[in-house]
Structures are given as structure tokens and as C-alpha cells.
Symmetry: C2
Subunit: 679 residues, 2 copies
């Protein structure tokens, strides 16, 4: 942490690289100077300085306090430079130089790591676009220098980093810190986020990632950050072709995108798809007070655009509700009769600065936020409206945003709004989306849940289980692990069939047990609704025949259970995030309707319950149209218990419970499939 | 049509209104002059001219060829002016003046209509923002003068109109014609679209509406337009609060938004939510050749942004597929080894003008469109890339679009691209969405279907039907109208129960018939799985008891039908678009999963089939995972027959068939509810 602080507030910076004009080292040094940072030195074999910066042949010979080295020398010289950095007590080396992991040169990268470890030196990069610390006036990058502001941005991609820095000014967003970490042999968001969470210059952070290195550490960093400040995340490689590109670009395996969705929302981050949305959100979070509810008032001078924004608001879960009777009366008394006093509040093109000031001030007392949409004409003094809006906003602790339309005629007004902390968006719909995300973030923050990861004692499987894990063993294993299953009896011969049927009671179901028959139904290996001993014996013989040559072991006998709602529950191991649990609507609708929820395991009872609630078909399970509800309390504890299993039994790769039958009184895992990890 | 042509190409224009500085008439005359149109005259009581324009007291006294009057005089003088216009042989009067229907003054509006009818005069407005015809250099509006171009824009809202005109330049879109029709006592899109469809200055039209006046005429206008040119539509009032605002704003009842969705897509229009999307699409359609397939190549100089665009492309149904082996080989031979030759094709920051020209030229032979995404730094000559891109695009008849990022450093390149017809978008994702919509539009255009509206002979209902339409009548009525229903027997007493059961055959179902019991199941009025005559008689007596005091008429006897897939089919009358049909997945999933499709009636067999295919659950009905398919051919003809009923029986308001049972051999409407219109 201390080293990261020194990165952003260094006593001195050394650029390692050539000072010949046009060379990377020269341009970096020039940019650093242009940005206003002056404690800068350069090192290269010739000891060549320039631009008024003294040149040295070694770091040691500089003999000044130095915290950061920016390395831009050829790839084969980087490790030697890094050793020098370590010996000179540099805190962080930022390696701009490329030619490492991204072109398959992993050995060189391993060497960098080794050197860093030996010298207690931290690395950013290699193959990165550098970093920025605006409070230190330090721009150690070749990209456009962004305006100073409250957004921190961490990017795995240098190109995205460059685009964001170049676009920040036009988007009306200032930057506090920027880091491009490229191949990340060392520092990445996992250590940068905790620093930014406490950085007084940063109010919101944004993150562009293509992959993560340690899923659970990443989750912890995001979760802890989001408890304090909002985090906006772009994770690319969402679809298959995107994933292919990510693969060839970063050389690291992208995890399943649905898992990223689940992880990010679990941890409180706001995932967006585009840089534009990222800027929109950061502009809101950086400038506005907390959005503590969902009641939005739209104050406008024209009908159409207000309606479009109201449409979007309802879609995003904000309430554009009409004003209270009292407020309506007060507004009505103060405004001309042709104003629209429902919400949107239409002050018409005759609305004055005074009207805007008074209406917004009055309305803010009753709503959680205000969006003021105003269409200008060459004849309208839009600056007057901007004055009214900013005056009212300054008196309030609630978010006020604007949408002034359009083009050059509102340029001055938009600048006025910006200078007074009222963000303007090019269309009202985008402002609405920002307010909706802000309300969601605040709700998340207030309901913040600590990481849930109890200490599990790993258990080994029995010999039988390790070898085959056939249905009799799997059902017993579930029962032992507090997963309710139907009564069952494993019959290995006709005598045991008789005994089993007596124990279970008719009607029963018989299912074949064979290590070579997995999809039992496809083989006719499940016989339903058996009503008598004679039927049961004949069914057993039928199964024996079906499994001929397939190492027949016998039959599972179950009671014939009545039809009911079915769900699927499974776990597997995500390459990035470890154990994940999947819950979905069962039956023929599974594949078509894809009503599926994913969460990282383990799940507390509270999170299990929240998972059930997240199913689209939840109302069906909870009982609609007079139907009896399923026992969702029992399902909650089943899910919670099940989600512990990947931690208790690390030898198991995947388990599917399909279906789980949901009854009013109980829930039962009626079939199970266990897949062990490769030995 | 001729009059509309004269509106946009008038021999002369008269402004009716005060020429005192700052008055509406004066400002309009000034704007018209500033726009470059000079055959302009003014009329007001004092005969006051100004700005070099001669003033008159009457239109007649002008004695020059005049086609258009722009009326900006006080509302109580408008009708007199209108009569003058009519007598002077004016083609179109554009009434800017407000104070009519929008403030409840409908009588004055009716009078305008009456005058127009008498004098064969067409009206735009009142309460509108005027019109623009850039090819005539005529800007009869107070709004910002937009650049000349290929987009026509028709707006119900003056404010949206003003915003679009003011924003057009910055958005890089030029305007051919613009009309704001305000309260539309006369001309609106229904007559303007046919004109624009043949207007050589217009390549794409955009429409902002809050409501339509005559749904079926609107559909015809849109359908015919979209056969020739693309139409982008913003329809506001999507959600309830938006609808409330629309209500108070336009004084016309907004139809159900789902119906608008269905209607617009049926007719080939592209519905968007925001002005931003509208501009994006118009920029593409106005500049680009046809997008005739879905294969997209992304040519970029940097990884991250290319991946984000590829993500979006797959989501939007475009294929970012890798190049063929041959192309890969050719590219690989021509480019440095560190280029990414999958799609996205990453030419890296070393990519030259020559590389771009050659790669895009080669790739265009194999793909349907190209998006070139390029992130600039202060050190990159992005103009060189723009040259390579535009050179290649000029040689091809396929769409090439660009995304140069970001900010001031690419301003010059973007202008260069624009001047050579390559639209640039601020993010690649928006460019991708445009290309996807263009591909969809072209597919629609090629599959264009004529309006389907056979001549129906209206039939009157029988006396029984008109009075009550109970289940026995309704079932018979369905059968008579070629809607397959199960066998049924209406038993009014115990003797008839016996006869009915014999006729139907056990097991049977009995359902109570009473004019006062509508939700039969809730009353225990449906008795299932009756196995014998004795059971049937006792069931009948039970129903009789249930309906005690409720005018018991008897029981419907049906065969007990096996469980199967269920759907719901209904029709009703939309206030704007008339008869509409709704098809949805039945059973308990209806309300939760909202798998519903709406279409305007009647439906040809082809459109009925397309309707079934549009259900999300279609694969279930068609048979998945080895299940037998339902008889969807029978369902197709059932839907088609059903969709005729609202036209044949105009007295009926709504019919619900719920459920229709879908079997492998047949489909059966198993229950029906008919609601008559109020007498």
C-alpha cells in the first residue's frame, strides 16, 4: 500500500530509455515535463539527457530520492534495468516496453517477477500504457493528458486506456489516477482498488478487464471497494467471438461470461458494456450526492423529450410519480395555467430562471432526484434556465442532472452547468440510466454483506465413491450431507427387490444401476408406476436384460412420487472463480427459457434465499393463482448445504441434482449425477 | 401529392403575422431570408413589411405566384387568414400559431378543418414548429437551420423537431425535408410518407410520434414507404408514466405500446428509443450502400475496443467470423507477424495507410460490411488510416463504417471520413447496432409482403348469441367458424347427461353452464375424469347445487382430454389499429414468462405461421429432446380462421380461447369466452 502511495506521489521519477528524439524514452520524458512534473531524471547507456532533464548512465548515480522508474528501454535490457531499480530502492517500476508474454515470451516475464520478488520491488506492466496521478501532475504515459477530476481508471488494455484519457475532457469527466497494467506480472486491480478506496482524490473507479488473475481475491477487492465507493466495470469477451479475440489478445483464458455477471453483481460492481456508459456513470457518481430512493421528477420546457425520459425511467425501475396534492396546489398557484403539472413537469418555453429555481427547489423536497430536460431554440435564453437549475441544486443534497438540447446553441449553458457540478447528458434517457444505477448502488451499499466463507474441513471420499460413484452411493452421499432425497433401496437381485418394495411401499419406480448407462431414460432404464411385487420382479428382469453386457449391478427402488414443480441445482468449478452453483427451472422449459441463476459457492442461507428469489419463475414456486407454495425454506437450506459440497469434497468436479422435486411439505433431490476430477 | 410537392418547392411563400421586431411573424420572415429563400412576402393588418420584404394587407394584393402560407398571427385571426389563403389558391397553410386543441379549443380546430375542406386547402399544424425543405433553401421555422442532407424528419412534437434540427450538424446528419405537424388537423405522416418515398433528395426518413390518427392508414403508409426506403420511428409513451404524459400533452389517447411494437415491425419500420439511436441509424442509411448479409469484419489498430465491438455484434446477430483460409494466408503474407488475423483483424499501432487500404479491400470481398476501429494517440497519424479506409470504401459497394477514438486528436480524421461518405461513430458498439439494423431492414425489404385484408362479409349473430353467448353457443359458433373444438354435448337434465355420456364416451368432464358463473373452476364448476354414468349423474347434481340461485342451465359434457401443451389465443380491438390477435404460451407460465406475440388481424396462413415461430417457446411446440411435435399446421389454420372473426362479427368485442390444447394429431380450443360490445 505504501509503495502504491509512492507510485502516485513519488519523490522522484526516473525514465529508463533513449533520449534520442522520437524514441519512447524521450517522448515519455517530454510528456512528463509537459504535464508539470519536474523531479524527473533519465538513465540510458550513454547517460544522455535532454529537454533540460539531466541524463545518467546508472540509477544509483542520480543520488536523489526516487520512487518510480518508467522503463522504456528495449525488452532484452529490461531485466538488467529492473535489478538496478531494486538495488536503488525504487518502489514501483512501470514497464512500458513490450515483447513479453503477449508474444509468447513468458520466460522473460517470469524473470521480471523473480527480480521483483528478490528486491521487494513492485511492477506495473510490462506492455502497458503507463500511469497518471493528476494530483501529483504526473502523466507517465504517451496518451492524451486528461483533465483532473474524481474518476480513477484501471485498464488491462492500453488502447482502451488511451481512448478513455483522450475522451475524458469531451465527456466532461476528470481523472484522479490512471493505471494501464498490460501483462500484469505484478500489480493489478486487486491491490490498486484498496488504495483507491481510501484515496481522497477518487470518488468513483472504473475498470476495464479482459480476464482476472485470482478470482476470489478479485472478488474480495471489488466487494471491499464497493462498500466505500462505486465501481464501474467493463469486462470484454462477453460473447464467443469476443472471447476468441480476448484469447488471442491477452493469452489468458477468459472465464464464462455468466459467471462474471454473477460475480460482479454479487460484489456490488456496476457492469456496463461501453466506454460511453462508463463515462456517463462516472460523471454522475463523481459529481452528485447519493441517490437514496427511486422517485424521479422530470422538469422540462417541452413535452416530447420529457415523455421519452419518463419511458426510460419506468423501464429502469425509477418512479416518475405525480406530485402530492399539496405540491401540485403550490405549483399550480405559482405557475401559468398552461404548464403541465403532472410528472414530467412541463414549464413550457415560457419557463423563466425564477420558475426553474422555485419549482426545482420545491420539487426536490418530495423526490429523490431531478432531471431537467430543456430544448433550446435560437430565441431561448437557455443560460437563464441553467442558472435556475444550478441555484436550486446547490441548495440541495439530492442529485440534480440536466439534458440541454442540442448542438452549439447550448454549449455555453452546458459549460455553466458543469462548472457548478450539475452533469449534463446529451439525451435524457442516458441521465435516467445513470440515476437508476446510482439508486441501485446505494441500495447495495446499505445492504452490504460480508464475504461468506466459513472454514470447511475437507473430507475424502470412500473407496466406492472414488471409483464409480454410482446412484446408490451418490444418493447415500447426498443424504449424509443433509440433502433430502426420497426413500430408496438398492436391490441387487430378485429377493432384494421383494424386500425393497415392502420397505418402500407400492407404487414404486425401478431404475437400472450400471456404470455404463448414464442416460438411463434413453435406454428404457427407468420403469414407473409399478403396482405389485410381480410387476416389480418383471421390471427388475427387464432392467437386467437392458443392461446385458453393461455390468448390471441391480436396481434402485424409489416410491412413485407425484408430479410437481421441478428445478435443477448443480455446482462446478469455474477456472477463475472456483466453486459456482447454478439453480434453474427444470423440466422441458430449462433449455428454452433459460431461467437460470449463478452464484459463487458457498452460499449462506440468506444468499440461497436471494438466489431462489432471483429466478424469473419464483412466483410460480411461491404459489400463484391459488396454487400451494413449495417449501422454499427447505429448498433454501438444501441449496446452502449443497453449496458447501465443492469445498468439503475437493475431489468432485461437478454435481447435478436434476430434478429436485418441490412439494408443499418437502423438497427432494430425485436424481443425481456426480463427476469426479481427473485423477 | 401535388400540393405536398408545392409545399417543399413553392413558387412563393407568404408569412402572415406581425413584422414588428421580436414578433413571431418577423422572426419567421427573418429566418426564411437567412436560409436563402427570397420569394417571400408578408401580410398583416397594417401591411407592414421589413427586412427588405414587401408588406401587404391581403394575400390577394400580392399578385405573385404563391404556394405556401406560414401563419403566425394570433389564434383568433387564423381562420380569417385561412379563408384568405383558400381564396388566393394557396396549396398549403402552415399554422405555427398555438392556442387550439392543445389547450382544449377543439371548436376552433374544427373550424380550420372546415375551411380547408371548403377551399381544397391543406394544413400543417396548428401549434407546430414549421417545416424545412433544404433543396429549396426554405427554412420556415424558428429552429436551428440544419445542414442539407438525405434524412427527412417528421415530428409530432415541435420540441423534438427543434432538438433534432439543432443537433443534426454535430451528429453528422443532413436533412432533406422537415415537417412538424403539431395538432395535425390535416397533413401528417400518412400523406407525407408517400411523397418522401419518391423524393429523390431523401434516402431515409425518421418519424417521432406520440399517437396516430388512423391506425390502418398509418400502417399502409409505413408499409409502402418501407418497401422503398428505411423508416426509423420513435414512438413515445411506452410505459405508463410516459403514457400519462403523452395524454396530457397531445390530448389523444395513446394505444397500447405492445401493439405499436407489433405494428411497426409488421410494416418494416425500425423502432428506436432515443434521438441518438435515430441519428445513428439515419447516418448509416443516408450514407451507406445496402447491407446484404450478416458477416462483419472488424479491422482495428488495438485489441480492447475491437473485442467490445465483437461482443456487441454477436449480441445483435451479426457474425464476426474468422477469415477463410485463403484470405488468412494472403493477409498473413502481407502483414507483420504481430498482427491479429482472426476477426477482429488487429493491424496494431504500426498499421499503415497502405495496410488499411489493402486489408479492407481484400476483406470486403469476403464480408458484408467492415467496421474499422482505431484508437489514436498524440503520436499516431490517424488521418493516414482514414485515407486508407476511405480509399478502400470508395472501391466497394458494401458498407464501411468507422470508429475513431477519441476526443480532439481525431477531429480532423472524422471530418475527412465524413466528407468521403464513411460515417464515424463515437463507439464501435453503436456502429455495430446500425449495421445490424441495416441488415434486418434489407431482409425485411426483400421479403416484403403486401397488405393482407380480404373482403369479409359481416355476419350478424343469432339471438341467443347476442343475448348471452354461453358456452354451448360459443362452442358451436367456433365449430361453425372452422375453429376445431372437442366433441361436446349440452345436457340440460339427467336424461340428457346419460345420452351425452353415451355419445361422448367415458371418461368425461362436466362443466356447469350458468350466465352468472364465469370463472367456473373457482366455483368447483368443472368436474374431471368421470368414469361412469352414475358418477356423471351425481356430478350433474353437484353442479346443479353449485349453481343454485344462479340460473342453472345444465352442463357441458366433454371427453376427458389428456394433458398436453397449452396456448392462449385471443382477439380484441385496439383503439388505434382495430382488430389485433394475441397468441401466448398457456398454463401457469403465461403470467410469469409473458411469452406473448401480438399481430394485427386478419392474418394470412403465412403470417399465422410466422406468429407461432415468434413465440419463445416455439421449439417446445415443435418438439425438442425427442418429444413429438404438436400439429402446428392445424394451429396455423386455426389462428388464421380465428383472426377473421373480428371482421366477420363486428358485434364481438373480445374472444379468448384458453386453453387451446396442442396434440400431435390435432389442436382443440378447449374453452372459450366471448365478450360482446356494449349495445
Amino acid at each position: 500500500m505504501d509503495k502504491i502511495h509512492r507510485l502516485f506521489h513519488p519523490a522522484g521519477v526516473v525514465v529508463i530509455g533513449s533520449m534520442s528524439e522520437g524514441k519512447l524514452g524521450y517522448e515519455l520524458a517530454r510528456q512528463i515535463l509537459l504535464g508539470g512534473y519536474t523531479s524527473v531524471f533519465v538513465v540510458n547507456p550513454k547517460g544522455q539527457g535532454g529537454l533540460g532533464i539531466p541524463g545518467y548512465t546508472t540509477i544509483k548515480s542520480i543520488n536523489q530520492p526516487l520512487d518510480v522508474a518508467v522503463i522504456a528501454s528495449p525488452p532484452d535490457t529490461v531485466s538488467a534495468s529492473l535489478i538496478e531499480c531494486g538495488e536503488a530502492g525504487i518502489s514501483v517500476a512501470v514497464i512500458i516496453t513490450s515483447g513479453f508474454g503477449e508474444i509468447g515470451n513468458t520466460a522473460a516475464e517470469e524473470k521480471l517477477k523473480e527480480i521483483a520478488r528478490q528486491h521487494n520491488l513492485r511492477i506495473i506492466g510490462p506492455n502497458c500504457a503507463g500511469f497518471v496521478s493528476t494530483s501529483a501532475s504526473l502523466y507517465a504515459t504517451l496518451e492524451v493528458r486528461p483533465p483532473k477530476g474524481k474518476m480513477a481508471f484501471i485498464s488491462q488494455s492500453g488502447a482502451i486506456g488511451g481512448a478513455v484519457l483522450a475522451w475524458a475532457d469531451e465527456q466532461g469527466v476528470g481523472v484522479s489516477k490512471f493505471v494501464s497494467y498490460g501483462n500484469r506480472v505484478d500489480l493489478d486491480e486487486i491491490e490498486l482498488l484498496p488504495y483507491l478506496a481510501d484515496d481522497p482524490d477518487t470518488r468513483v473507479a472504473a475498470l476495464y478487464i479482459e480476464s482476472v488473475k485470482d478470482g476470489r481475491k478479485f472478488m474480495r477487492a471489488v466487494r471491499n471497494f464497493c462498500q466505500k465507493k462505486p465501481l464501474v466495470v467493463i469486462k470484454s469477451g462477453r460473447t464467443t467471438s469476443g472471447q476468441r479475440a480476448a484469447l488471442s489478445h491477452t493469452g489468458s483464458l477468459a472465464g464464462s461470461d455468466h459467471v462474471y455477471d454473477a460475480v460482479l453483481s454479487e460484489c456490488g460492481a456496476i457492469r456496463v458494456e461501453t466506454i460511453e456508459e462508463m463515462f456517463d456513470l462516472c460523471k454522475g457518481f463523481a459529481n452528485l450526492p447519493v441517490m437514496s430512493g427511486r422517485k424521479l421528477a422530470i422538469v422540462t420546457n417541452s413535452g416530447g423529450p420529457g415523455i421519452l425520459a419518463a419511458d426510460r425511467a419506468e423501464k429502469e425501475g425509477l418512479f416518475v410519480s405525480p406530485p402530492s396534492e399539496g405540491l401540485h396546489r403550490r405549483l399550480s398557484a405559482a405557475l401559468p395555467p398552461n404548464c403541465g403539472l403532472n410528472n414530467p413537469l412541463d414549464l413550457t418555453v415560457q419557463g423563466t430562471e425564477e420558475d426553474y429555481r422555485n419549482v426545482i427547489t420545491a420539487v426536490l423536497k418530495e423526490y429523490d432526484a431531478i432531471l431537467s430536460i430543456n430544448v433550446a431554440t435560437p430565441y431561448l435564453d437557455s443560460l437563464a434556465l441553467a442558472r435556475g437549475i444550478t441555484d436550486a441544486a446547490a441548495q440541495s443534497d439530492k442529485p440534480v442532472v440536466a439534458n440541454f438540447m442540442a448542438g452549439e446553441i447550448v454549449t455555453e449553458s452546458i459549460a455553466y452547468l458543469k462548472n457548478r457540478g450539475v452533469p449534463n447528458y446529451p439525451i435524457g434517457e442516458r441521465a435516467v440510466s445513470v440515476l437508476a444505477r446510482m439508486a441501485e448502488y446505494e441500495k447495495y451499499r446499505l445492504a452490504y454483506q460480508e464475504e461468506y466463507l466459513p472454514a470447511f474441513t475437507a473430507q475424502t471420499l470412500s473407496k466406492n465413491e472414488t471409483n464409480e460413484f454410482l446412484e446408490p452411493d451418490a444418493m447415500q452421499w447426498l443424504a449424509n450431507n443433509h440433502i433430502p432425497v426420497p426413500q430408496f433401496f438398492f436391490a441387487r437381485n430378485v429377493e432384494e427387490v421383494t424386500r425393497g418394495c415392502m420397505q418402500i411401499g407400492f407404487p414404486v419406480v425401478l431404475k437400472v444401476v450400471s456404470p455404463h448407462i448414464i442416460h438411463k431414460s434413453d435406454y428404457g432404464g427407468v420403469i414407473l408406476n409399478i403396482q405389485s411385487e410381480a410387476e416389480a420382479i418383471s421390471a427388475f428382469q427387464k432392467l437386467e436384460k437392458i443392461a446385458q453386457g453393461k455390468d448390471f449391478r441391480g436396481a434402485m427402488i424409489y416410491p412413485m412420487l407425484p408430479k410437481t414443480h421441478e428445478i435443477i441445482l448443480g455446482f462446478s468449478h469455474d477456472p477463475q472463480f472456483g466453486p459456482v452453483v447454478m439453480l434453474g427451472l427444470g423440466g422441458i422449459f430449462t433449455e428454452i427459457l433459460k431461467d437460470i441463476v449463478i452464484r459463487t459457492a458457498p452460499l449462506s442461507a440468506k444468499r440461497s434465499w436471494e438466489m431462489i428469489r432471483s429466478l424469473k419463475s419464483y412466483p410460480i414456486l411461491a404459489g400463484i393463482r391459488g396454487q400451494k407454495p413449495c417449501n422454499l425454506e427447505a429448498l433454501t437450506s438444501l441449496i446452502s448445504n449443497f453449496s458447501n459440497l465443492p469445498w468439503i469434497y475437493p475431489e468432485i468436479k461437478e454435481v447435478d441434482l436434476n430434478p429436485i422435486l418441490l412439494y408443499e411439505q418437502e423438497v427432494l433431490a430425485a436424481d443425481v449425477r456426480v463427476i469426479l476430477k481427473e485423477q
